[in-house]
Point group: C2
Chain length 342, copies 2
DNA sequence: GAATGGGACTTTACCGGTTGAGGAAAGCGC
DNA sequence: GCGCTTTCCTCAACCGGTAAAGTCCCATTC
């Protein structure tokens, strides 16, 4: 009921000091005796005062909020364990710095670029995390132009002069293909993510290169929108191909599509991994909840988010641009991959 | 590079008016001629000015940010499609009001109560959305004491005097049980969510009542932590029970556990729905990506989030407490439910 | 004993908007 | 031509903090 109208002035009055002193105490700056400091904290505690962050950031012109806009259809977002895990990693670091996360779902990168400008101009955020880069991403130019401190989650080749945090997807794709080839697979397919995304392009190229390098003749890949439906559709079309073309192993660009692929195989009466091997990507817990369990290219998404947040703090505090690779996804074999049936 | 140091004063100067006039124009308040208004907008556009929201909320003491804290282990969060869909529903309404969402993951409701107080005292949020109520939830008292406008997502019996938005879970559970009984099942089990959550308690009671009412002798339910692992464990222990006790149908409290249950059945060589029927809850797209597809108690989670946000705006603008039911989940039969084998 | 220095605060000028109290000019009735 | 509204706009006081400059007092130092 009592709308807390307690301000720094009340605390100052109660502690018998000026508001400047209260400010010094709460920002742990030197220039106050221990006794006074203590008196101020006591007064604040008694009144239940907390500094008004709005006022603080107005006068100190630093904002303890970072923005994150995600640009994927709501439908897919919910299913994609990646984002929530990423966000939770980001949070874990932000929390340490008493920093908050402003989240927004957008429909296009153009909208996102506009939003970032708005947020920054309106002093709503002190920095931002950018994900899902595409070729010639408008956000690169926007962030540079605005001088907005950001961390770009994506390969340096996509993020221009922005500070970036990225995984080496090309190497991971190569490892995946090598593994399947080592098992004896010759016809390997890949169900990729959205073609517009930069990392999809890179994975696609890496897949091609790896397949060619290993002399795999039947390499075949398609792009999807990352949704389970699309994954199912792609899998169905691959598995219904005439036997000489039919892949014996399929790599997916996320978990969901791999799960959907597993269902398609079951629905077609094919046994995994006897008739076809499946390899997922990202490796959320979902991969351990299926039967058979899904082999996957696994990485620490939570840690990825945390690293992104740490890097963002670096950018906000003026550290110049840089490129921060995080560990490459590693192959985690489970029940869905095996040598092809002879 | 050019840190945008454009302020209302610059715009005023350029348009040849006072800053008060600019303020009036940008808040669409009366008292300005069309011509002046136009001149001001032009000047603002030319300078690329956007009002500093920090300054605005300091002087107008209204904050266009709402808080949402989610209290579940990161592990589970990622997998739970519910939250992202809910958030996307919330967003869809917030966006219309040019309002932002402050998100935070917390480890306990106590921490959340503290956070809300901090956010509110620090004028970081204008209101909050509270989810996952438990019995005697400390957030109820906290929100009341602070006078913080909130919308509580949970049954009115759990949310005290707070404005609430809720689904009638008891009715939905009853419908689920009735459906399975109508198919001929006599031994129906339920894999519930976290026992500490209020809605779990209500669903548990409703399940018991429904089973008793229908004279089902083998009703059996357990509580879990909502994780896929726990769902798998529960399913395994149910399906390994001696035949007279073994349930022929299992209802799950979310999607993930149902998916895990499906895998367990497969791993045990049981056929779904021939040997056992499974019924999921929430019905994200995941239910359509399995084989067989999962029958589910289905509701519009996106719409649920949107309604919560709308109701919150009501609370913020001073509308008194109220209780807003949203549509009860409805049964959506798919491939995982059938009459029991005789 | 005057000059120096520094610790402990206070003062005061912002930060960039909003808001309510005016004030000048134009329109209107008589 | 005078008072009275309206319309349109200016002024100045906030909002609740921060930060740089200023004040005071006391201990040193020469």
């Amino acid at each position: 009921m009592t709308t807390s109208r307690v301000t720094i002035k009340d605390v100052a009055a109660r502690a018998g000091v000026s508001k400047g002193a209260v400010s010094l105490a709460f920002n742990r700056k030197p220039g106050l005796s221990e006794a006074t400091r203590e008196r101020i904290f006591t007064a604040a505690r008694e009144l239940g005062w907390e500094p008004n962050l709005t006022a603080r950031s107005l006068s100190s012109s630093r904002v303890d909020v970072v923005g994150l806009a995600i640009c994927r259809p709501a439908r897919m977002l919910g299913l994609e364990p990646f984002y929530m895990e990423f966000v939770s990693g980001v949070e874990s670091v932000l929390t340490e710095h008493a920093c908050a996360l402003l989240l927004r779902l957008v429909r296009s990168v153009e909208e996102e670029a506009g939003l970032l400008e708005s947020w920054w101009r309106g002093r709503q955020i002190g920095g931002a995390i950018l994900v899902d880069f595409r070729a010639d991403d408008p956000r690169v130019v926007a962030a540079e132009r605005l001088g907005l401190p950001v961390v770009a989650v994506g390969h340096p080749s996509l993020t221009g002069s922005l500070t970036s945090v990225w995984t080496d997807d090309a190497t991971a794709v190569t490892e995946a293909v090598r593994y399947l080839a080592a098992l004896g697979h010759r016809r390997v397919a890949r169900v990729g993510g959205a073609a517009a995304l930069g990392h999809t392009v890179m994975r696609t190229a890496a897949f091609d290169a790896a397949a060619r390098g290993l002399g795999l003749t039947g390499a075949w890949q398609v792009a999807t929108d990352y949704s389970g439906e699309a994954g199912a559709r792609a899998t169905r079309s691959m598995l219904t191909a005439a036997p000489p073309d039919r892949p014996t192993a399929i790599v997916y660009d996320n978990d969901i599509m791999a799960v959907a692929g597993l269902a398609v195989a079951a629905e077609m009466g094919l046994s995994v991994p006897r008739d076809v091997s499946l390899l997922a990507w990202d490796d959320s817990q979902l991969c351990r909840l299926t039967h058979p369990t899904l082999s996957a290219m696994s990485h620490d998404v939570h840690g990825f988010g945390a690293e992104a947040a740490r890097t963002l703090f670096g950018a906000i505090t003026g550290r110049g641009p840089g490129s921060h690779p995080v560990p490459t996804p590693v192959l985690t074999p489970r029940g869905s991959t095996a040598p092809p049936k002879v």
